[in-house]
């Protein structure tokens, strides 16, 4: 937020809380459906119907059920129609987060992560432009509504939130980075509360892109950390949280779901799309987040891994976990919830943060599904079925194309 050279740059770090959360994923709309699904170990993959996949190698993904009409009468049919699919997902999750925080709007910064943004509208613009280049009717509306800031300004207007708006696009770490930015804004006293999250919808360009890279599991079912894993599955959804100073939350009597203890961000410069084989940047972010949180690996009760299911990602992350936890590795409980809902790209980090909050609230661990034989890198406790557990502190990793790496750490309120 605002910078002034004549104001003091020093600050006393403030305790930061999560007071609201919302989620939409292939598992369902809202926290309750998602919690029930992850607790039961459901897998949510289905045939893709939102665009033509008949010529792709893979035809399934974690496709969410998006309402045909807005469930909120304050969003008109016209406004709903102008929201792209991703913004609808984001609006549903952000609305749930605001409601669960007991907020109905107000002046607060909004930090949002996305990778594909409103790409389906861009695709529609492109198709019209190449088939009927001289017919411009409707094209201006597509150009305008394609822009992520136009979409997110609309989302803010519908939520009654005035901003400022910050949109991060750090590929698959975008959602985690957005929550990390919000954490720092609150921790440093630059904002009292921030609405933060991430979203992405399935779209043809990105689906075909991962297919072209042969990164999609041919069966359509990803098996993160399996020795014979053969790729990821894409998904769609959104996760949002209200990040607030603990003092402000207590002052207004808000429910404190968890504290945000630490955040780490680093850049893997090994390759545009491949992680360093030893997970150097992942190690850096986990270490930095733990240092900020003042916790050791032994104190992490659950680690929600990036765990895409690609051969290179999982072994690199596994090596990073081993290096980070050292002798404590065997006791670290790890799962990849992408095995249930797929890789939500720009939404993944935020959705997986909300899944960590579920684990903290419900005192259970979500599972890595579809594992037949664990990869040798899994010298940690790979959670292969949902289980009850004492969960006080949770860590989530997010890594993206371009080398964007991020780690967030949450602690259950009152668990110190």
């Amino acid at each position: 937020m605002a910078f002034r050279a004549d104001s003091s740059p020093t600050f006393e770090a403030r305790a930061v809380a999560i007071t609201g959360m919302g989620i939409v994923s292939p598992m369902g709309l809202g926290f309750a459906d998602n919690a029930a699904g992850f607790r039961a170990g459901r897998s949510a993959f289905r045939p893709v119907t939102v665009f033509d996949v008949s010529r792709q190698r893979v035809g399934t993904a974690g496709q969410a059920e998006v309402p045909e009409r807005s469930p909120d009468p304050r969003v008109s049919l016209r406004d709903w129609d102008r929201m792209d699919r991703g913004t609808r997902l984001a609006w549903l999750a952000a609305g749930e987060a605001m409601a669960s925080a007991g907020l109905s709007g107000g002046a607060m910064p909004v930090v949002i992560g996305t990778s594909a943004a409103a790409m389906p509208i861009g695709e529609a613009y492109y198709k019209r432009a190449v088939t009927e280049p001289h017919r411009r009717a409707g094209q201006l509306r597509r150009v305008e509504t394609y822009q992520s800031q136009w979409q997110m300004n609309g989302l803010m207007r519908h939520l009654g939130v005035s901003g400022p708006l910050r949109i991060l696009s750090n590929a698959c770490a975008s959602g985690a980075n957005a929550i990390g930015h919000a954490f720092h804004l609150v921790r440093s006293g630059k904002a009292e509360r921030v609405l933060a999250g991430g979203y992405d919808a399935l779209c043809q360009l990105v689906f075909a892109g991962f297919d072209a890279l042969q990164a999609l599991a041919p069966s359509g079912i990803p098996r993160p950390f399996d020795a014979a894993r053969d790729g990821l599955a894409l998904g769609e959804g959104a996760g949002f949280v209200v990040v607030e100073s603990l003092a402000a939350a207590r002052a207004r009597g808000a429910r404190v779901i968890a504290e945000v203890l630490g955040y780490g961000a680093a850049t893997d410069i090994h390759h545009l799309t491949q992680p360093h084989s030893e997970g150097d940047a992942a190690l850096a972010t986990m270490t930095a987040a733990c240092r900020m949180a003042g916790v050791s690996p032994e104190e992490i009760d659950y680690l929600n891994s990036h765990g895409t299911g690609t051969p290179l990602n999982d072994v690199a992350e596994g090596r990073a976990i081993q290096r980070w936890a050292g002798e404590a590795t065997a006791g670290v409980k790890v799962s990849s919830t992408k095995s249930s809902i797929g890789h939500l790209l720009g939404g993944a980090g935020a959705v997986e943060a909300v899944i960590c909050l579920m684990a903290l609230e419900g005192q259970w661990l979500p599972a890595s599904l579809h594992v037949r034989e664990a990869d040798p890198v899994c010298t940690f406790d790979l959670v292969r079925e949902p289980r009850d557990a004492r969960v006080r502190t949770a860590l989530t990793n997010s890594f993206g194309f371009g080398g964007a790496n991020a780690t967030l750490i949450f602690r259950k309120e009152g668990a110190a």
Binding site: A129, Q147, L165, R166, S169, S188, L205
Partner: protein, 336 residues
């Protein structure tokens, strides 16, 4: 650190040429850069392109297969950083973060890749797809620097560059980096050029990159103020946002302070900004009227011009102001 942040380097790639001297010479001449026709399927759009100069593109394996936007961003960023600091970063002695701000991003490869997908997804190029991702240019930049420090890509309208400055100031204040590059870059092809003309045929689509390198400490040009952008969600219209930001950014008329504005020459879009600054008595530069509408790069080039004016002593201070198309009014104040 102290509250002092200095602009320790600038870089520019524009239709005026590669490098800050070419940009400043074009502003001094005050003549619009030449246009050229961009044609496809019988649709012709006049655009201002960055002149081809292979020798000006930084040498890096990471840039071999990239589209122009990554090359523009890298050239501007490395010019801003300078060879001495680059050597220190590459030696691991200096942590430099990267903030990239975009409106369009990697439109050339997105266009090509999606065209291939529609033709036959089985043969769509796996080399093109990763370059379509918004953060590809900033990723290449960090890799060229050999820097594992934080790297963020921000999306927004044509005023987003100022949020990049805010983020850089936050990183410096927290001590996460020793220095930070803020880069705004864009490339054009028919897809975005025609899209801009859907708003008005008066716009001249353009491309390029501007970069500022920020450090804590002392230097000839300081970053004095980056107010919160005024979001269009919280005010009645663009005109109200422009007025509100102007009131925050400029306390009063200051004859020796230069205003580098975002006027484009398209009256309908310029009117709110003209009205907000109608009583401004200081000197004014309007780079977009000469260089074209380079969207996410335009505000970056405005800031480069503002900093150079202060550095050269042509102004005691400078304001850069941008009224975006559909998100925000934003700006920054630079001075000694």
């Amino acid at each position: 650190m102290s509250g002092r942040i200095v602009i320790a380097g600038t870089g520019a790639v524009s239709p005026a040429g590669w490098g800050v001297p070419a940009l400043m010479a074009a502003l001094d001449r005050g003549e619009p850069a030449a246009t050229e026709p961009l044609e496809r399927q019988g649709v012709v759009t006049a655009v201002r392109r960055v002149p081809a100069d292979p020798a000006a593109v930084p040498k890096s394996a990471r840039l071999r297969r990239t589209s122009p936007i990554s090359k523009f961003a890298a050239a501007a960023a490395l010019e801003a950083l300078g060879p001495d600091r680059l050597a220190r970063v590459q030696a691991g002695e200096w942590r430099v973060g990267v903030v990239s701000t975009l409106f369009n991003g990697c439109v050339n490869y997105s266009n090509r890749f999606f065209g291939e997908v529609l033709a036959d997804p089985a043969t769509a190029s796996p080399i093109l797809f990763p370059e379509t991702v918004f953060n590809a240019p900033s990723s290449h930049l960090s890799a060229m620097l050999g820097s594992t420090a934080p790297n963020d890509t921000l999306l927004g309208d044509g005023a987003e560059f100022f949020t990049g400055l805010e983020v850089a100031a936050e990183w410096l204040a927290r001590g996460e980096v020793d220095g930070c590059l803020v880069v705004g870059a864009e490339e054009i092809d028919w897809l975005c050029a025609e899209a801009l003309h859907d708003y008005s045929r008066g716009f001249v689509p353009s491309e390029g990159a501007g970069a500022l390198y920020l450090e804590a400490g002392d230097g000839p040009v300081r970053l004095l103020h980056v107010p919160d952008p005024v979001s269009f969600t919280g005010v009645a219209d663009r005109a109200a946002a422009a007025r509100q930001l102007r009131e925050t950014l400029a306390a009063g008329d200051e004859p020796a302070v230069l205003l580098v504005d975002s006027l484009t020459g398209v009256a309908r879009f310029d009117r709110p900004e003209r009205e907000a600054w109608g009583d401004w008595s200081g000197p004014t530069w309007s780079p977009r009227t000469l260089l074209g509408e380079s969207m996410g790069a335009a505000a970056a080039l405005q800031c480069v011009a503002a900093v150079e004016a202060v550095k050269s002593g042509r102004a005691t201070g400078a304001l850069a102001f941008a009224l975006g198309g559909n998100e925000q009014a934003a700006g920054a104040r630079f001075g000694r």
